[in-house]
Structures are given as C-alpha cells and as structure tokens.
Amino acid sequence: MAATPRRTPLFDRHVAAGARLVDFAGWEMPVQYAGIRAEHAAVRERAGIFDVSHMGEIETSGPAAAALLQELLSNDVEQLAVGGAQYSVLCREDGGVLDDLFTYRLAPERYLTVTNASNHARDLAWFERHADGRDVLVEDKLEDFAMLAIQGPLAREYVQAFSDAPLPERFTVATRELAGHTALVCGTGYTGEDGVEVLCSPEAAGAIWDESVRRGAEPAGLGARDTLRLEVCYHLYGNDLMESRGPIEAGLGWCCKEDTGFIGADAVRAVRAAGPAERLVPFTLTGTGIARQGNPVVGGGEVTSGTLSPSLGIGIGMAYLPAARAQTGEAFEIDVRGRVRPAVVADRPLYERPTA
C-alpha cells in the first residue's frame, strides 16, 4: 500500500483554486487549474505561478564544500561566484546520470543545490556518502524551504512590485524581502520565459503566492510545466535523463567539465571523444498524432518526452536516435501504439518567442 502523499504548504490554496491533484513523486500536486492550455498560454503571454515545493534542497557548507561539489557535480564549481547559479548533472562512476541540478552559491563556503523531487533522497545519500571524512557539512533542507516559480514576460514586473530591492538578474541569486518575508530569489526557470524562482520558509509561501496572484500571476500546474519546458527542450529527469544514459548522449556535454575530475568524468570524456552512439533530439510530428514517452522509433531509438505543443498546435517531443540519424531535418517514423506516424528532427528550441 502506497504511503500517503505529502502536501506542500500551498495545498489548501490549490484546492480552493479548483486544482485537479495528482500524486507526483510522493507529493499531492496540482496538475492543472483552469486547464493546461490556458495555463500554458498565461505563462507565454503574461505570468503564471507554480508551486514547486516538492523539489528538494541540499545545503553544502564549510571549507571543503567547493571540493566536494567539484567531485560530485559535472560543471566547474570554481566558476560559480557568490550570488551565482549553475546547472550541472550528477553522474555515476560509469557516467550514467543520477540527476540534473541547479546549485546556488549563497556565501563563499555555502552552496544550495535544488534536486528533483523523485531523486532527492538518493541525491542526499550520495552527497552524504562522499562528504564522509571531509571538513564539510551536508544538510537536508527539504523541510526548510517552500519553492515557487513565477514565470512569464510580466513575472518580474509582478514580483518586483512587492520586493524590497531590485530582483536578481538571470543566473544570479539574492536574498530579498518579498511581501515582508525573507526569501532567496533566483533568476532561473524551467519554462523558457523570463521570471524568478523563490525559495522561502514554508510559513511565508502563502503570502508570496497570494501577493503574486493578486497582481496577476495565474496558478499553473505540472501539466503546463511539462508542455512549457518541452517546447524549449529542457530535460526532465525520468523522461530524457536516466541512469542508463550519460550526459553527452543527452546533449548536456556543455555543462560537463571533465578536467575537474567529477565522478563519471572519465566515462564522459571517453564518450565525448568517441562520439555517442545515440543522441537526444527534439522533433515535431509532420502529420497528425501525438508521440508519447516510450514510443519506439522505427529502425532504432525511442521517444522520451512527447505532448501536444499548445503554442505550435502540433505533436512535439524529444527522442534518442542513433547518432547518424540525429541530424536536423532527418525524417523518421514513430510507432505510436501500433500506428506509424511521421516525424522530423528539429532544432532546439521547438518554440521561440516571436520577436516582432
């Protein structure tokens, strides 16, 4: 019998807003409120607000913090300045991806890493195991933080209105008073739109949510979160990233700095040098239909993410294809539950903001 799912501090607000709730990674989370397409459009055109409090946080501090993170994270932690944000993957010794993470440097020897909800316990154990014997403190901060994402062209304007100081720029983090509550504000997001992610105490989450909504941010759920990220080809662990494949195959070689000697670096270096056997590519369906995770590609490969793109009105997704076929413009076919549907490899991102 499954354990009762956990609830975030904003659960009552989701219910009051008419959310349809689902169990996600052991948390009872809103999949949609007004509807996935309406919420998706709200984020692309104005601003939406997401409760992402189910995500985990790990704080790494002390004299050996940078050294520990350098060993665990694929990116070069030496390049992460105080007040900065850095994306990386966490790998096994054989290069298989354990998680994709953002790490914020809050102070010279204090870092905060945000984990995917489904991987938090495993990531924490991995951090703790490798911290053993070093002058570093690894702390589980999951219970200390709620997390909200306010995303869209108007998101910064809305949040700025109740911030005590200018919001931090993209890829930076700063402490601010939002609606009178202390919060870490990060210039990051998962939608392809501008905006911020806010880490605050569970007690402050309601006030910050209410203030954001009052000013016009529309509640948006996990359904829209997925269509938004897939349109801009951001990876989702459990779909596009998994232990059985490495970062080079996934197109994340850019955040891997093998010379830092992270766990898995040798394996990643070897794949980079030889070229991966398969690559993750974005695609669109050239006819009707919607491809879904797990649909095989005819002749080899598989779809790892698929949906109807609300912005484009067509089926889109990402798939691992044999390297020789993983080129923009390559036509291929997807076996969608027994019906073969034509598709074509596209450039990332699949959706781009109109510039006019």
Binding site: V31, I36, R37, G289, I290, L308
Partner: protein, 127 residues
C-alpha cells in the same frame, strides 16, 4: 460543458460511454463524466469505417495533453460513419459530448445488447 448532464433519451455503459439508438444504428460517444475526467481533448483519431466494435472492448482512443484514454464500446457492430469534424475540433468532445462530440455510428449486430445498458438515472447514480 459546465454542468454535468446525462440525457434521458440515451443508454449508458458503466465505462462512461453513451449510445443513441435509432433502429439498428447506434451513435456512440463518451459521457460528461468521462470528458470531465479527461480534461481538454486535443486529439481524436477515428477508427476506420468498416471496422467492428465489440461491446465492452476499446474501439478508439481520445487524447488529452497529458494522457491517452481508451474508449469502450457499449455495443457490438460495424462502424458505418465516423465524426470527421473532430479532426479539426476535438474540443467538441468536451463542449458537446452528446451532440457535436459524437464519435462513431455503428450498425448493431445484436440489438438485444442494449438490454445490458443503463438508463440515465442508474448511470448517474453509479458515479
């Protein structure tokens, strides 16, 4: 469609499908409950005219943004017409599940199968 409704001139299958009987031809679709549970329908690929339906078995799929759902046939027969308008406007399944959202018409192979279906009151009480 804002409010739940279950027209009394239709027959219902427990898997949330309805049938409108006209002689030996039945129009089939999914109920208000089913479209509400699905969310916005974004894709419906109709089965081929000439294909058969078997009572209690899936004959088609409706897709929302996030999921694919089987549509269960309430009655057995041969598909004689499909709702091609749903290709451009699948949202009719949500907005008008008993009218413009009809899925297929079948020529019934055994009209007595209708005896096993529920009336509106019984179906609604089962929800």
């Amino acid at each position: 469609m804002a409010d739940a409704s279950y027209p009394t001139d239709l027959l219902y299958h427990p898997e949330h499908d309805w049938a409108r009987i006209d002689g030996d031809v039945a129009t089939l679709g999914i109920t208000w409950f089913a479209q509400d549970a699905l969310g916005e329908v974004v894709f419906f690929d109709p089965p081929a005219v000439g294909a058969t339906t078997t009572a209690g078995e899936s004959y088609a799929e409706v897709e929302s943004v996030k999921a694919v759902s089987d549509v269960i046939a309430p009655l057995s027969g041969e598909i004689v017409e499909v709702n091609a308008a749903l290709g451009d406007g699948p949202e009719a399944i949500n907005d008008d599940p008993y009218g413009g959202g009809w899925l297929v018409k079948v020529r019934l192979t055994d009209v007595s199968e209708t005896d096993a279906l529920l009336d509106a009151a019984t179906y609604e009480a089962s929800l």
